[in-house]
């Protein structure tokens, strides 16, 4: 098997089970009146490999500054967290959430697989099965709990393609923009009919999911009230803005996926990170403000395929490394703390002599979020082949 031949039409079996023309119980949003308290899990993927040692800086480490003579964040600008770790100055907007204990960091997380390929590592992280390329669906799709009356927009992937994490047997829709998510020129019924009768199971199934979501989003769009919150005009900012709209609409959203691009900082990384981390912080801050009290039901978890070399490279940048830092933000997060066992930066402590070692499997972080989000799901089904040891970074459920 080559790496690409594993891609298969996962949904075919699930899709043919649907009939055409069943009563659309979800047509009105009132169908979800009881959905208000539903938890929402938002996953953010920082593609390109974020430099976790710059995001949550181990400035108490003797070797940190020495490993990075030109790119270490100066002590005086770093935002102290606990005397040993500090936030990058561009993450300053997030500090209030740290102080109010809604933001946690989990350091030295990553995959047991040693790959330093973006392609493979992203794929492993999104499938939730490091080292196993045959997995067809994504962890976030498997994490969607069974639901008697699921909303057509229970699972949303922001952007023009459906993220690998959300591919699988549960319906999930890719949305560029809510406002543009419709068919023009009164052609909707005809297209719906054509796709519903298509002999092609993939197009038929995707068509069905699409038109159900179109109808629901149309009603949300009509009733949308501008929150007046300004989000960054970035991929992440605009994705979170729309996710917030869906959460506030009480339309049954349960899981959402958003991308943040451009973290592959091989050269001249300081100004790049200033922008990237600034965008990350401002996007999350706007999201938090926008949701207000609804944040109590929301957990945001961030991930990136691997970390970057502990030592800077020849171009004031860093190359592909191993462990990284993940963030969790939400009303239930027991924040204000850096979780995870810190492996150290001494030469003998580094993975393969060059990278931060992994002490927490990324699946244990995600498993914790999934368990909190969906009660007690079958973690072995979500992360097959892994004996999950969920980290405890949530407040106990009251």
């Amino acid at each position: 098997m080559t790496s690409n031949t594993r891609r298969a039409f996962v949904r075919n079996a699930a899709l043919t089970a649907f009939g055409v023309g069943s009563a659309p119980a979800w047509l009105t949003r009132t169908a979800y009146a009881g959905a208000k308290s539903r938890k929402v899990l938002v996953a953010i993927f920082q593609r390109g490999a974020m430099d976790g040692l710059s995001a949550v800086i181990p400035y108490g480490e003797r070797r940190y500054a020495a490993l990075r003579p030109t790119i270490a964040v100066p002590r005086e600008t770093a935002i102290d967290l606990d005397g040993f770790f500090a936030l990058h100055p561009a993450l300053k907007p997030l500090k209030p959430f740290w102080d109010s204990k809604q933001l946690a960091a989990i350091h030295a997380t990553g995959s047991p697989d040693p790959t330093r390929s973006h392609f493979d590592a992203q794929d492993f992280m999104e499938s939730g099965t490091p080292g196993r390329k045959a997995t067809r669906d994504g962890w976030l799709n498997r994490a969607i709990p069974p639901q008697p009356k699921p909303s057509p927009i229970r699972a949303i992937s922001m952007g023009g393609t459906l993220s690998r994490s959300l591919r699988g047997a549960n319906p999930a829709v890719a949305v560029n923009t809510i406002a543009g998510f419709k068919v023009r020129d009164d052609a909707q019924d005809d297209f719906m009919s054509m796709y519903a009768q298509s002999a092609d199971p993939m197009l038929k199934g995707t068509g069905k999911d699409t038109f159900e979501a179109v109808k629901l989003l149309e009603s949300i769009n009509r009733n949308q009230v501008d929150s007046g919150i300004t989000y960054p005009n970035s991929r992440l900012g605009q994705s979170l803005r729309q996710i917030a709209t869906l959460i506030k609409a009480d339309a049954g959203l349960e899981v959402a996926f958003a991308d943040s691009l451009g973290w592959d900082t091989h050269a001249g990384q300081a100004p790049m990170l200033q922008n990237l981390l600034g965008d990350f912080a401002n996007s999350l801050t706007a999201f938090h403000q926008d949701l207000g009290e609804r944040m109590a039901d929301v957990t945001v978890v961030s991930m990136s395929e691997f970390g970057r070399t502990a030592k800077e490279n020849g171009n004031r940048g860093t190359d592909h490394g191993h462990a990284n830092v993940m963030f969790a933000l939400g009303g239930d997060v027991a924040g204000g703390k850096v979780y995870g066992k810190w492996p150290g930066l001494e030469a003998e402590q580094l993975y393969e002599g060059r990278d931060l070692a992994v002490t927490t499997d990324f699946r244990d972080v995600l498993a914790s979020a999934v368990r909190h989000h969906a009660g007690t799901p079958d973690l072995v089904k979500i992360f097959p082949g892994h004996q999950a040891k969920p980290l405890h970074f949530f407040r106990p459920i009251q």
Partner: protein
């Protein structure tokens, strides 16, 4: 000729029932897979030549007369013919500086993308165009990374196009030495790690593994093959000194011996002797180009684009053998694939989902569109998830159905079909009546655009639509499920 070709396709049923494709199905299959979208004209030429001869002709684009109107049109785009130096002089650009630079970049991008689009829609050398798209994507470079905005024009023209039916090794070498690639994957800044910085040297110096890793993983061996992190580092050391001279005034490849690591290296078990220079990188390219894993990986990628998302191991094996035997002759490998029973099997017929660029180009071809200004189309491709020359990651775009079958993409396709058929795409003109050969009945409209008998989903939906305008019907066909496959 048009009428004759349409009457020809009337004979083509939706799906071949027999274990072998009929003559008509073979013609439509070739026209769907080896062009940016079948047209009545394409089918007419296939009928005239015979499908096997037509395929062989497409493998020799130099023997195909180009569309004279296209040649005249392409001459209007001055920037696409310029060297890096001319381009930088005529359209100055400094990353992050000045507004004039942004307008210049816009012009360069538009001319580059518009000429690609025009060729895809109008060229008679359709297979060559598909291959130019395939190989650029294989050796992807992101237009918007710094100075690459000034370099991608010559990269596509000089490093990719001349070699798409040539030798893989030449193609690999051309990409390796082109400043667009050296810049995109940072090799131009990768230098001997142990060299001490000079006192007045502002820039930190050292090894950068970015190019070395993607060279192994994406350009040659493929990620599944057993090279190690050590191999990546050793390859990076071999390529130290492969740099760019005068990045902002012409940007040429330059080997700088002062930056090169002259110590001995070991790459995939081969010893690269100490004391040499540029030869180190050349030897690595030799090792990679003749490696069996490369033969297999390149064969797999070609088969995934042209035959099926999951091509059989047998087909890949035969293509890889042809790769090895011909020392990477891409025409020979393509011929092996295009004469294989797998390519002509009923299972392969209409089995590929169109990528967004393929969908848009095929709709433009099916409607006989004239493109006066491409900006709306280029924007559309961005919305559909495939902006030309703007894939950030070195992986390029994936050719798999799963990648493109999603809600956002389907809605985009439906809306594009409607807009196009109603002449509402800015900068694009269609003469629908001509494209449909005067047909007005819904089933005939579908047939004229699909070039085969429409399936029941299309017929059942459209049969009661005699009141609906032909333009709206055409839009439903172009955005409908049958048009999304090729």
């Amino acid at each position: 000729m048009l009428r004759q070709a349409i009457s020809l396709v009337l004979a083509v049923s939706l799906f071949p029932a027999a274990p072998k494709l009929t003559k008509e199905h073979r013609a439509l299959h070739a026209a769907s897979r080896l062009t940016f979208g079948p047209t009545a004209d394409t089918l007419a030429s296939i009928q005239k030549l015979g499908v096997d001869k037509w395929v062989e002709q497409q493998l020799h684009p130099e023997k195909i007369a180009e569309d004279p109107a296209l040649e005249v049109r392409l001459k209007r785009y001055a920037s696409v013919g310029m060297s890096n130096a001319e381009l930088m002089e005529k359209y100055p650009f400094r990353p992050g500086q000045g507004k004039g630079g942004a307008a210049n970049v816009r012009l360069i991008y538009t001319e580059l993308a518009e000429t690609k689009l025009l060729r895809a829609v109008h060229s008679n050398r359709q297979l060559e165009e598909l291959l130019a798209d395939f190989w650029f994507n294989h050796f992807n470079v992101f237009f918007d990374k710094g100075m690459d905005r000034m370099l991608v024009t010559s990269y596509e023209r000089d490093a990719i196009r001349p070699h798409v039916l040539g030798n893989f090794k030449d193609l690999l070498l051309a990409t390796s030495k082109h400043p667009a690639m050296l810049f995109y994957l940072d090799n131009w800044r990768s230098v001997f790690a142990d060299r001490l910085p000079r006192r007045n040297e502002k820039r930190a110096i050292g090894l950068n593994e970015n190019y070395a890793r993607e060279l192994l993983e994406l350009h040659t061996l493929g990620v599944d093959n057993s090279y190690t992190q050590q191999d990546v580092t050793e390859v990076a050391r071999c390529f130290t000194g492969w740099s760019i001279a005068d990045l902002r005034e012409g940007a040429k490849f330059k080997f700088n011996p002062l930056l090169h690591d002259r110590k001995q290296k070991t790459v995939l078990g081969h010893t690269i002797p100490a004391g040499r220079g540029e030869e180190d990188g050349l030897q690595v390219l030799d090792i990679l180009a003749s490696h069996p894993a490369t033969a297999k990986y390149i064969s797999t990628k070609l088969a995934q684009r042209f035959v099926a998302d999951m091509p059989s191991e047998e087909l890949i094996g035969r293509m890889a053998a042809a790769f090895t035997k011909s020392h990477g002759d891409l025409r020979v490998i393509m011929r092996t694939m295009l004469t294989a029973p797998e390519f002509w099997s009923p299972a392969a017929y209409k089995a590929k989902m169109k990528m967004p660029f393929e969908m848009v180009a095929s709709a433009l071809r099916a409607t006989g569109a004239e493109i006066d200004n491409s900006s709306a189309i280029l924007q559309e491709l961005k919305t559909l998830g495939q902006p030309l020359f703007r894939k950030v990651e070195p992986t390029g775009y994936y050719p798999f159905a799963e990648e493109w079958t999603n809600s956002a993409s389907l809605l985009g396709r439906m809306n594009f079909g409607l807009q196009l058929s109603q002449n509402k795409v800015r900068g694009v003109r269609i003469d629908l009546d001509k494209a449909l050969d005067g047909k007005t009945a819904p089933a005939e409209i579908a047939q004229a655009l699909l070039l085969h008998q429409p399936g029941p989903e299309t017929l059942k939906t459209l049969q009661n639509k005699s009141e609906t305008s032909p333009a709206q019907i055409a839009g439903l066909v172009l955005g409908g499920p049958e048009f999304q496959r090729r």
